[in-house]
């Protein structure tokens, strides 16, 4: 099949001024201040797109994907390399360009479509399609300023998608409108694709690419990391992003949560001191403090205390305690909560029929979770120690928050092993 787009080794760098003066005075007087660094945004990218193919460009912020799109639309020009585009190009980068609030929807269709390079006759012949697609038939002669933002976007999108281009470039704009309209847009894009329109989508939402694109390119630091079938590329990308999240030193996060806790702790302490045997159950931390939790840690398999884990990774919760007044029996427990405060899982030594009496004044107790079944999301850890009747000694709600990342795309909170059969 013939190529619709050929990109050969394009490079692009920007001058980033530390303190840019574009005024004469600044240029002359503060000549030294016009220092800048050259940032290479694209460092040699080549790819081809076949006619009728849908390609997704994915990558985190600043990887060069939007710049690539801007070079393809000729908003910017590459420093070196070559871009060949076969056919009429339309870009859905900015919706509603040139809309004038005081003009009617119909007049704005003409203005907006003309910015895409359409001639009057072409717009005339498409006007009905555009109006029908936007579902704004009753409002089309009202000024655009009376439109709701949803109506505004619907009109803008309808113009853009009815431009009849051979190549369609789309940047992060499919997140507009209500779900129904979004579905409609996707259906329209599929229709265009099957009619042989080449489509390039730039987004950091992997879902869009997976749903829609045959092929994906993952960009990082201005280079192509991986190119191929979209699901494969997205798996690799997600894996990379998760690893990056974990590598980003999580210690600062731990400090923060502990600091917060210690603040609350003093609050609770004061209350406890004032009246020893009354328990304020609404506090973040409450109990009689006959035994106290001095510290809880979340350890990975190398024994490192961290607050971000992968689904399926091993996790050890280690509770450090200090006894003020010995009890007959101690019951230790932990629980995982979501951010709404719903308990997802909770357990303690009593439920597991482990009797703990005579223990050292200071010590630790650990619980090992071989494979953490939680799916990606934000969670909260509770730790507690109570006596055999369940009277709280030291009950630590929201001990700390932690995050789970996952390459799996299941929904919900837990990973459940399963097999499909036919």
């Amino acid at each position: 099949m013939e190529n619709a787009i050929e990109v050969k080794n394009i490079k692009k760098s920007f001058k980033i001024y530390f303190d840019k003066g574009s005024q004469l005075k600044e240029r002359l007087l503060f000549h030294k201040r016009n220092r800048y660094e050259v940032r290479e945004v694209l460092r040699g990218i080549s790819f081809e797109v076949k006619k009728g193919e849908a390609l997704g460009l994915i990558g985190h912020n600043g990887c060069g994907k939007s710049t690539t799109l801007k070079l393809l639309t000729k908003i910017m020009y590459a420093d070196s390399g070559e871009i060949i585009m076969h056919g009429r190009v339309s870009s859905l980068i900015e919706l509603g360009a040139g809309f004038h609030p005081d003009m009617s929807g119909r007049e704005n269709i003409y203005t907006n479509a003309s910015i895409f390079g359409l001639k009057k006759k072409e717009i005339d012949s498409r006007l009905d399609d555009i109006i029908n697609f936007s579902e704004l038939n009753d409002f089309i002669d009202n000024p655009v300023r009376t439109y709701s933002s949803g109506m505004y976007m619907r009109l803008a999108f309808s113009v853009a998608i009815n431009v009849n281009a051979d190549i369609l470039l789309i940047d992060e704009i499919l997140a507009v409108g209500d779900t129904n309209f979004q579905t409609k847009c996707f259906n329209r894009l599929r229709e265009l694709k099957s009619n042989g329109v080449t489509i390039i989508i730039v987004t950091h939402d992997s879902g869009t690419i997976e749903k829609f694109c045959d092929r994906a390119i993952w960009l990082n630091d201005g280079l192509i990391v991986k190119e191929g079938r979209s699901d494969k590329v997205i798996d690799a990308y997600m894996n990379f992003m998760n690893q990056k999240k974990i590598d980003r030193n999580p210690e600062t996060e731990i400090l923060q949560t502990e600091e917060k806790n210690s603040e609350k702790e003093t609050d609770a302490d004061e209350k406890n001191k004032s009246d020893d045997d009354i328990i304020d159950y609404s506090a973040n931390r409450f109990g009689l403090k006959y035994i106290e939790i001095t510290k809880a840690e979340m350890l990975d398999n190398s024994g490192k205390d961290k607050r971000i884990f992968r689904t399926g990774e091993s996790l050890t919760i280690k509770i450090n305690y200090h006894i003020n007044k010995p009890l007959d029996e101690y019951v230790f427990g932990f629980g995982f909560y979501n951010l709404n405060g719903d308990c997802l899982y909770g357990n303690n030594t009593q439920i597991d029929r482990l009797k703990i009496d005579n223990i050292n004044t200071d010590g630790t107790i650990s619980v090992d979770i071989e494979k953490l079944p939680l799916l990606s999301g934000q969670y909260i850890l509770n730790v507690a120690v109570v006596d055999s009747d369940g009277t709280p000694m030291d009950f630590y709600r929201n001990y700390c928050g932690f995050e789970v990342v996952s390459d799996e795309r299941n929904m919900g909170y837990f990973s459940i092993r399963h097999n499909w059969r036919l």
Partner: protein, 258 residues
């Protein structure tokens, strides 16, 4: 050449922008589009009062003498100063969408031009009511003069708008330049009173010839001198060609500089 064809393909966009500008200009005001006519009329009244009651001159029908030169001058000076900031003003569009960037200064100048044409309705009305009379043969030259001024205004707007992107002071500097230029063009006075040694500068000023042509047709009711018409065309074309190539060169980095 390819650029020119592309600009031609985007003629609907030029048309839309001009219409949007003309309609949007007086939107919301009580008199609306009428301002296009009221504005020059009020200016005329001010000049008439000043020059017939306070600053008396010997020139017969001085208000007309001034008016037929002033309206074309306003077209040129607004194309120059407004045109300079036109590209910067549309930066959101330029950063987000591809279209031949020339469309913006072209539409701006065209919109000023249309505004001048509308003002000419008032000019003609004044010419007729003043009893100055019209020479139909001379009047045939008017479109040619207007065209010459249009290409000159477009050329300067292309230069000014593209340079302003890189050098924002220009739009402020141009405000002063345009004022100075107004006094260096024989609008309020006749070229005849200009000292001999300054005459070369006046002849290099492309607007000198254009204003003189307008005045010849509308005030003196004569066919303008061919030499004046020719030199205004030549100077206008020089500006247009220079502006065209400079713009093509400078527009490559618009999206980054804006």
């Amino acid at each position: 050449m390819k650029t020119l064809k592309e600009i031609f393909d985007y003629r609907q966009m030029i048309f839309s922008l001009v219409r949007k500008d003309l309609r949007g200009r007086y939107k919301g005001s009580f008199l609306g589009f009428m301002w296009t006519f009221i504005n020059p009329l009020l200016q005329l009244i001010v000049y008439t009062v000043v020059f017939s009651l306070i600053l008396k001159t010997d020139t017969e029908r001085y208000y007309l003498y001034l008016f037929v030169a002033l309206i074309p001058w306003i077209f040129f000076s607004s194309s120059l100063t407004g045109g300079a900031s036109s590209v910067v003003a549309q930066k959101d569009l330029i950063k987000k969408i591809y279209f031949p960037r020339q469309v913006i200064p072209i539409s701006y100048v065209t919109s000023c031009f249309v505004n001048m044409l509308l003002s000419f309705i008032v000019v003609f009305a004044v010419v007729i009511f003043s009893g100055n009379g019209i020479n139909p043969l001379a009047l045939l030259c008017l479109p040619v003069i207007m065209f010459a001024e249009y290409i000159l205004a477009l050329g300067t707007a292309l230069i000014a708008s593209s340079v302003t992107v890189y050098f924002r002071d220009l739009e402020h500097i141009l405000g002063i330049i345009s004022m100075a230029l107004m006094y260096m063009t024989p609008i309020m006075y006749d070229k005849a009173i200009v000292p001999e040694n300054l005459l070369p500068i006046f002849n290099l000023n492309p607007m000198t010839h254009i204003i003189e042509c307008y005045r010849a047709v509308l005030y003196y009711r004569t066919v303008p001198e061919l030499s004046g018409l020719l030199s205004s065309f030549v100077l206008g074309s020089v500006f247009l060609v220079a502006g065209h190539f400079l713009f093509i060169r400078l527009q490559r980095h618009f999206a980054e500089e804006l």
